[in-house]
């Protein structure tokens, strides 16, 4: 465990603000994406708003990338962040698919 260099560099003082803001925005944009997707599916929003949901997911991924590179994360953490981003993309789809199935089975 020890012979591998895990943490290579100090974070630059001027990078802290960007890191905090981008990591906050990761979840804010992520929340918008999930919120818009869900709202469209339960017909609280019109269908044309859906692309904006996906746009927010792209912004989320960008913020994740920015945050990761400024804090000099190592390879494994970088992979974990990519998995988290893809997980977030799939999450509402999976939820909707399952919810819909259950509702169908219970109502018909």
């Amino acid at each position: 465990m020890v012979n591998e260099v895990l943490m290579t560099q100090d974070i630059l003082v001027e990078d802290f603000l960007t890191i905090f803001i981008s990591s906050t925005l990761v979840l804010v944009f992520g929340g918008f994406y999930v919120g818009i997707y869900t709202a469209v599916k339960v017909k609280m929003l019109k269908k044309w708003t859906l692309p904006f949901g996906y746009l927010f997911w792209i912004l989320t991924s960008y913020c994740l990338y920015l945050m990761g590179s400024l804090m000099h994360v190592n390879e494994l953490t970088a992979k974990a962040l990519v998995v988290a981003a893809i997980g977030l993309l799939l999450l509402p789809h999976a939820v909707y698919y399952m919810q819909d199935r259950v509702h169908e089975e219970n109502e018909h």
Binding site: V5, L6, M7, R101, V102, E104, E105
Partner: protein, 228 residues
């Protein structure tokens, strides 16, 4: 009627929850065995044999402690009794602690025990942080032993009228509100001379724990620009 799908089957999800929870718990327990072995406290013979432990034995209070950047690990590590060529502890250089550098294992253990009890009973953690955990009303104590403020160039020895770090710390702990450094002061907690000795031993011991480089750059930068 729609056909039953496994994804909408409660029993499937119930079983998944049980398996996932079980798997995560087993992994945590397995890691706990490994970690608790690695953080068990070392002994005096470890120190005699030059064995570096993440939490060394209480007799480290007989040695000089520093906090040095380690090339291989890319962060600072505590160095006990001077450094080897590769930057690890050599356990050679001693340092007097309350006038002695021959505290036996029993004596040092008793002192550390008193200090750890004192740290809890006096509620240190509800103002200070220890290993970064606690309250944020007062400075972090993880590496307090190595703080330049208590060293020969710091202000605390002159203020308390003592010639060594440990005596200055012990004096301060017994009468903290007599030596105010800032408007925010440490209150008098009725710490006795013996308890203060124990607490200082506890602090010195804590500074030898390998905290993976926390805090970063401790005491290395002085008088940097402040962000007012």
């Amino acid at each position: 009627m729609a056909k039953k799908s496994v994804w909408s089957d409660n029993r499937f999800w119930q079983r998944s929850a049980a398996w996932i929870t079980g798997f995560a718990s087993v992994l945590l327990i397995w890691l706990t065995f490994d970690t608790t072995a690695q953080i068990s406290m070392g002994t005096d013979s470890d120190i005699q044999n030059g064995v570096t432990k993440r939490v060394p034995g209480p007799t480290v209070i007989n040695y000089k402690i520093t906090y040095e950047m380690n090339k291989k690990r890319q962060h600072e590590i505590p160095v006990i009794g001077g450094a080897n060529a590769d930057g690890t502890s050599s356990f050679q250089e001693k340092e007097k602690f309350f006038g002695r550098d021959d505290w036996s294992e029993e004596e040092a253990t008793a002192l550390l025990h008193l200090g750890k009890l004192g740290s809890q009973v006096k509620n240190c953690m509800n103002c200070h942080t220890l290993l970064g955990n606690g309250a944020y009303y007062a400075p972090d104590l993880t590496k307090a032993w190595l703080d330049p403020a208590w060293g020969p160039e710091g202000s605390m020895q002159a203020m308390t009228g003592k010639n060594t770090k440990e005596e200055a710390m012990a004096e301060f702990l017994q009468n903290p509100s007599q030596y105010p450094t800032h408007e925010r002061m440490m209150p008098n907690l009725g710490i006795t001379a013996e308890e203060a000795k124990g607490l200082v031993a506890f602090l010195k011991h804590m500074s030898t724990i390998d905290t993976n480089g926390f805090p970063r750059n401790f005491g290395k930068i002085q008088g940097a620009v402040n962000g007012k």
